[in-house]
Amino acid sequence: MRALGAILVKDLRVELRTLESVPGMVLFAVTTFVIFRFGLDRTSLDGSLAAGVLLATVLFAAILAVNRIFVAERDQGGLDAIRLAPVDANALLAAKVAALVVYLVILEAIAVPIFAVFFLDEWSALAPLALVLLLADLGLAATGALVSSLATGSRARDLLVPLVLLPLIVPLMIAAAAAAEPLLAAGAPEYDEVATWLAVLGLYDVVFLLVGYGVFDFVLED
């Protein structure tokens, strides 16, 4: 546990100092909103369109962070240092998952209000939307960290991460969009089916956290 905390704090400290991931993610998201505004020729979004634009943007912005999450370890020899220490391999994975969640939450804290200002007429469902986003972030982080650890050991890592991650993330997308759609419906938000989709999101998170827990030892060994 203390190793998890130490690695997470270390990553956050480095991010705060270098600002490599989060500002880029935020800028990317806002620019993408603008692109969607013109691409769809819409100034107001609701329902499935709003859910889709928001989630797709978050997803692609997440890839920016996922690409970089293991780079410091691989390039600067940090991986050796952690492997030498009496530290569980899964502590490293958990720290990376946690770091990604933090980055995504910060991203959404900034980008979702901007999205609401740009496109939404109705803001009342933003609170339950936050829950949907949180569960989606956890799933994104779990899968992203695992894929990043595989790709960082390879040659074409910037290409491989989106290539492998995107299909893996489709069920997450399906569930998150289906949950968000009624929340962002024109008129009043509806809450009927949200619970089902939250359950699917939760299931996705659990499955991929477990998979990561089971296989990460083998990713680290040499």
């Binding site: 203390r2 270390k10 600067q76 020899g77 940090g78 050796d80 240092a81 220490a85």
Partner: protein, 254 residues
Amino acid sequence: MATSTKRDNGVAEVHDAQQGREPPAIRLAGLWREFGERIALQDVSLELAHGDSLVVIGPNGSGKTTLLRVLATLLRPSGGDVAVLGARLPREAWRARGRIGYVGHEPLLYRDLTVSENLRFHATLYGIEAPERRIDELLERVGMSRRAGELTRNLSAGMAQRAAVCRAVLHEPELLLLDEPSAHLDPEASELIAPLITAGAGRTCVTVTHDFRAGLAAGGRALALGHGGWAVYSGPAEGLSASDAEAIYRGALR
């Protein structure tokens, strides 16, 4: 310490007179390691008692770094018996990890953290509580107290190396594995780190170096690794002439 050399089937083995009394710090029997088609280490056998020092020499690419990384539990052996600090590798690697210190080619420090942040991070990984005093003391001894607050990316190679040595000995390891620890270091800096990395009571050292006479001077042994095989030399360094040293070095080449 009485040693004898036995030649068996053309392979020399060294038997330590203390064998059998307490488990040695390192015991290798037929260690080999391959990378795909390439065999980096072939059938290496060795025993090293606690408190002893071993110097590893050989031409580039002869597997010195590979051997060190296997001992550090960073690489799995492809075959053979390997026991480090009583832990059989690779299954029991976790038992040895907290007691090993490793200085490699990379300083293993995060470039965007300061020296003291790096050392504190490592202290937490090794479960050292309240490490500030130890960190300050180590930095003082290697002459880096004033650079403690600098980002590692701004350090010269020599300073980074000194910080790396601090990182390696921070948790007072029983076994020190050093891959050319004096690289990038001027003679003065080498002298500063020397007391931290010599073998003695409670500390066994395996050092890869090109200056093995210094290593042998401490009463240790030399393992010469070559592309054709390997051999162990033990004995006083005083009687060694430069050409003898050369012969040992080249002897492993065939």
